[in-house]
Subunit: 340 residues, 2 copies
């Protein structure tokens, strides 16, 4: 499959490469007749404008960038990112855009990647995930000449950039009320990575809602990986005064927690109720099936991509609320045995 | 963050943009003194050569492409692709390359994407996954002027392209021998998508090995999704003469199968033994933990990326065997109750 060049068209049409360039760029400098002949030859040869040439002329490079600042090996644990990317791809595919994906160790490296991509015109815009307090990425993406960007997270952590977010606080409050309503008096929470904006927001919502319900709330820190989720679950369940319900910040930690409960000889949900965040097909494959805060992550990714296209077209920075995760009750939650 | 252009450098250095171009491209046309001044100014401004300009000059665009021909929503089910991509990214990151990822509905659309990328110089090479018999992608990637490519799969399905593969037949044979050795006389297999090269290879290995061991082998077709895995498991376990062990073509189908076994009131492994393919952290989170054909998918992705760089540098097409998946025995397999 050879690439068709301007030289190929020039040769076939019997004109100079300059004439081909004028014709293809719809600029004066060739007669209408010659232009028509050149366009005919170009069409016949299946010519596609070079991305590089269009970038030089200031046009789009038809690529959107996503940097993930994580240890590469942690990516495979969560279905979240692949679902999210699948959603982005749905929208990009409609426009024949590609997604340029790079995994880097930390957000400082992410800032460098954005800078490099922008300088070298490799992307038309970027998606920023897991925003945190005083996020250095936002400063680097501020200003009139900056790369267009959309933040995936609460507007509180998005600076002056557009943000697409879910109301995690509302979702977590609903979950705490549900568990308290079942009779749970000691509720645990296995959190995601400390420092992430959404972890802070969920922490505050949890703290506020357990106080409002007059129940005990305990938080064990983890980092979204199964191992950390298992360790945090042990902490909560092997305490002298263990919790009878646990809410997790993602699905794989809830899975790992289910394994720990089985290992400790605890029945689910009689001895301990478990709730996952980000429902996934695996939540339904578990036994018992996992109650989850369901969110359509693929639609979320698609929503973010649409907002980025709007931003690249010059839209003002705004905050867009995506649908709030809702509680899907399955077999892993019920009244605590002690209250029965 | 503004992009530094040749015009900015020219202005600051007090020279023409042509002079800047000569200097930056290391071509004659400016004095050594002027060249030094221009390079100094460029360094001071933090200039990075434009990707577009380098592409036009025939240099690399420092991007590798991967098209996934699947329904986007199925991507989130399997940790395989995210782990595989994480491995690719490890190698790309060392070279500051990006991965251009596009999800398309079928391999005909994949051929179009390759063609478009090549014509528009958006990638330096591509990775082709899930090769099948008479794969139209191979023809489109054949020839001297074609986009450099590496096939992830058995050389039998890779045409004249380099291939990186695992010896799935050996892995499956080991697994059948292990189960037969435990006393299983009726072994099931829940397969991946029909038509994929590796499905065919595993089918043949399974058929051959059950015959050699003198046991009954039954295949139920699925497509890597949890729902299909659950349905196939029901087929195998609800038959009049059910199997006592099931080997799955990935991890999420094995998970779904575990859920079905629980649902049917079957004990694992006493009533039915289960084996997953592509070990993942989730296999260890399950209860009982899943015996699996373990393969380091992240390393596999890294291996593929390294071979693609070699190919882009002009290496001959060869077949490279990656490590063979090995059986990791955990709690989901044991002797069948009837043989105890």
């Amino acid at each position: 499959m050879a690439r068709i060049t301007i030289a190929d068209i020039a040769r076939r049409a019997g004109v100079s490469t300059g004439a081909v360039s004028y014709a293809l760029n719809d600029r004066p400098g060739v007669s209408d007749e010659t232009r028509a002949r050149i366009l005919g030859v170009a069409a016949e040869l299946g010519w596609v404008p070079s991305q590089a040439a269009r970038a030089l002329s200031g046009a789009r490079v038809e690529t959107v960038g996503l940097v993930l600042a994580r240890a590469p090996e942690t990516l495979g644990f969560e279905s979240f990112y692949m679902q999210f990317i699948a959603g982005i791809e749905q929208v990009l595919a409609e426009r024949s855009y590609g997604l340029l994906l790079q995994v880097v160790p930390d957000i400082e490296a992410e800032v460098q990647a954005h800078r490099r991509w922008h300088a070298a015109r490799r992307v038309d815009g970027v998606i920023v995930v897991d925003p945190r307090k005083d996020d250095p990425r936002l400063a680097a993406l501020a200003g009139r000449d900056a790369l267009p960007a959309v933040v995936v997270g609460d507007p509180e952590f998005a600076g002056d950039l557009p943000a697409v977010f879910t109301d995690d606080a509302a979702a977590l409050r609903e979950c705490v009320r549900y568990l308290a309503g079942l009779g749970h008096r000691k509720i645990g929470r296995v959190s995601g990575t400390e420092g992430f904006g959404h972890t802070t927001i969920r922490d505050l919502a949890f703290e506020g809602e357990v106080a409002r319900e007059g129940v005990v709330g305990r938080v064990a820190r983890a980092d979204f990986t199964p191992d950390s989720g298992a360790a945090a679950t042990r902490c909560l369940l092997e305490a002298d005064d263990p919790v009878t319900a646990v809410i997790y910040d993602n699905d794989v930690m809830a899975f790992a927690g289910l394994g720990v409960a089985h290992e400790l000889g605890l029945r689910v949900p009689e001895d301990v109720s478990l709730v996952a965040w980000d429902d996934s097909p695996l939540c339904q494959a578990a036994f018992p099936q996992l109650t989850a805060l369901s969110h359509d992550v693929t639609s979320y990714g698609a929503h973010v991509a649409r907002r980025l296209f709007e931003r690249m077209a010059g839209a003002e920075a705004r905050a867009y609320r995506d649908s709030t995760p809702t509680l899907t009750v399955r077999g892993s939650t019920g009244p605590p045995a002690t209250a029965r």
